[in-house]
Subunit: 100 residues, 2 copies
């Protein structure tokens, strides 16, 4: 395992009937997670990046955390600190945001 946690956020933005994650704030989430982790010195252990469609269109913005394979939906900028502290640092997924 190269990273302790590897997070992928859908940044897809296609012209689809169901709203795409990228048309929300996927990239803003990526930037906020990165800034939060850098401030806490977590950025060498945890990596986040944009990805294509995670197959949960309509529940976006969506993200997945590996190696656990935990999916989150409707993730807001206000959720970044809770996901970081609870799940990424203390291994307790944030159940109210889980999907799949």
């Amino acid at each position: 395992m190269h990273f302790e946690k590897h997070v992928f956020i859908c940044s897809n933005d296609k012209d689809a009937p169901k709203k795409c994650c990228g048309s929300g704030h996927g990239m803003e989430l990526v930037e906020k997670f990165k800034a939060t982790w850098a401030a806490q010195g977590l950025d060498t252990k945890i990596r986040i990046q944009r990805a294509g469609c995670l197959d949960f269109c309509g529940k976006g913005p969506t993200m997945v955390v590996y190696p656990e394979g935990v999916f989150y939906g409707n993730v807001q900028l206000a959720d970044v600190e809770e996901i970081t502290e609870s799940h990424l640092v203390n291994n307790t997924p944030v159940s109210r945001l889980q999907i799949g």
Copy 2:
């Protein structure tokens, strides 16, 4: 776990000193994997998609397979069937391509 295997291929293509994966054939790999899996009925269990930089610039095209967190570098179109058969179906990573 929503997918038995979730594969991410770097499709980044920035103007960087070290050649970026996307400037190789990242998206061609995505298409070939998808076609290979569809032909074998694997496409509901295994998912692949483009992702941002996986942090192995210069070793591209790179990909990572979760939940194992196995990284591959210098992946060629000719490697698609071996990775599928050996790793994704039979859980034996292709050691000659592993990095990280």
